[in-house]
Symmetry: C2
Subunit: 351 residues, 2 copies
């Protein structure tokens, strides 16, 4: 899934340069790193990218050796439920009954071997139980920026991977609730990775999202005809945006969670990136041309000219594409406010 | 005097773009504002500019209607004593016995009528008493960035302007001393404006700076000959840098101070500029494209792209010529440290 349009990494992310196209914490764009992560254990032709129409060129630049027919374009973004539905229909044409792994394209994942083992186990489970499987991450802090999944009884899973039936999904909690989740011990972070057989998914659409299901069935009928593109556009214009979490996962009964022991972050803000990045002895993380004097625990990312910081601690400075963000680390989660203000002031070149 | 090469306004000021060529607190460069301030009551041909060789083009752009023969170029900067000596020699050729007003070209002065009245009185005094006259400013705070002059007994001066004999000069004091000066009441800030008849000055050179005087006399002899430029270069290469304050004013006996009631600042740092600038209701002073959110008492000057500040107070941000300075207001006096570090790292394009 590469349809997102993040504002949380402004000014590096823009309306037409969303987070998956940024090089965050590495030399590769996040989408390229994501594709490579799957190529390590899947055939290239088994990997599909769903993106917004208009991003063709940028995608091809990022993954030039991807077969063109493995790009799927949505006419507009309507959250994850239609995105996953459309991809399932198109993959179903070639591989009815296949197991899909659905993955965001803009997350950080480290420890690839564990990642692969976890996913193999999840695929095995989805196949065996005909259920909807999600990947959960053991929380190490009371994060308020993630959704949580409460686990129920343990079930068998291969390769010493732990798996559970899901008790409940919980949306992003406040801090007190997050602390309770952490203490309680049976809550995992919802990583946004889903695994299921295509028929299992369509049964869930039919049961929990009947209207969206009708739209998807209209698209299914149009596939292979000249009407395909116009039907997809019509259906997308009519349906309301909905996440797969809210639309299906929270309602379905046959939902499983497989615990991933790899390192994972949704990279939700510059503050998170600072925490995950390498720092010098003053606690500063610096990329690009910069000098810091008498300054500690700062995150500086610079793509043009020189940045000089003097006598300041706990700062985020990002200079990219003609704009410079300067904020305190504790306010880094609120960068969207800047983008909102720029929209209000119609400063289109910076949005 | 336009020979300075300030580092205190980095990144706007550079090795070849010193403070007098900046537009600080106004629409005009400081040097242009200075020339205009004198043109308001002096004939254009009576105004001379002493600058460093190599700054011809920049000067002509700033004051295009200045007679070319009124530019005086020093081969290198050796502080104010040789600068004022050279200018006096060259002006003496046309106007022996004239009274000179020596002025920095990079200060802020407001209330021009009072400025003019003060200078007329100072010229009158210099003429009458054959002394060396300086202009003093009533301190309104215990500034540690200025030199002070202690006044002695009052003497007659025209136009209700107050004038005194000088008791002592005091270099930039520490904070406790500056507080004592302020409380004591008979200390004025040394504005760097001097007024004297050319013969009075040369008597002082001869008495207090005999070596520099010999150099100046060599130059005097060469004026009007083909050797002029090479003699000036030779003399400048030999003499040690010296300020007129230290070399003459602090030692001479016939020194007077005229009190200026105009508004004056030597604009010594971004912090001073912030204090003198207009602010919005959040105490922010902003020039150029910028958005500030949840931020107070900041100084932002931007010459390219957009700057966004979020959740930060008491910040100085200056973006100019490919470099961005971000510092706390209280550290603004230490910007020179950045320039020193850039020199050490040989980042020549930013110096």
């Amino acid at each position: 899934m590469a349809g997102g349009s993040g504002t949380r990494f402004w000014p590096q992310s823009r309306e037409n340069r969303s987070k998956q196209f940024l090089k965050i914490l590495g030399d590769e764009t996040l989408i390229k790193a994501t594709v490579n992560r799957f190529r390590a254990f899947l055939k290239p032709e088994s990997i599909y990218i769903v993106a917004k129409a208009g991003q063709q060129d940028r995608l091809r630049k990022n993954v030039p050796d991807m077969p063109p027919s493995n790009f799927i374009f949505e006419p507009e973004g309507k959250n994850t439920a239609p995105c996953i539905g459309l991809a399932s229909l198109i993959i179903e044409e070639k591989h009815p009954g296949a197991v899909l792994i659905v993955s965001p394209s803009d997350h950080l994942i480290q420890k690839e071997k564990i990642f692969q083992r976890t996913l193999r186990a999840a695929v095995d489970l989805a196949w065996r139980e005909k259920g909807l499987v999600t990947i959960g991450i053991q929380p190490d802090r009371p994060a308020t920026g993630y959704g949580y999944v409460q686990i129920h009884r343990k079930i068998d899973c291969k390769d010493r991977v732990e798996a559970f039936r899901v008790k409940t999904f919980a949306e992003k909690p406040n801090f007190a609730t997050a602390q309770r989740f952490l203490k309680c011990g049976d809550f995992l972070w919802n990583s946004g990775l889903f695994i299921f057989r295509i028929p299992s998914l369509f049964r869930a659409y039919s049961r929990f999202m009947p209207e969206m299901c009708r739209g998807l069935m209209r698209i299914r009928k149009s596939l292979g005809t000249k009407k395909k593109d116009s039907v997809i556009r019509e259906v997308y214009a009519e349906i309301s945006p909905q996440s797969i979490d809210y639309g299906i996962m929270e309602k379905a009964k046959n939902v499983y969670i497989v615990k991933g022991d790899f390192i994972w972050s949704d990279l939700g803000s510059w503050e998170q990136v600072y925490k995950l990045s390498e720092k010098d002895s003053d606690g500063n993380s610096v990329s690009g041309e910069a000098v810091l004097l008498d300054s500690r625990n700062c995150y500086v990312h610079n793509e043009q000219g020189l940045i000089a910081v003097l006598g300041l601690d706990d700062l985020v400075v990002v200079q990219s594409e003609g704009a410079t963000l300067i904020c305190s680390r504790e306010k880094a989660e609120e960068v969207k406010q800047i983008v909102d203000m720029l929209k209000m002031k119609k400063k289109d070149q910076y949005i």
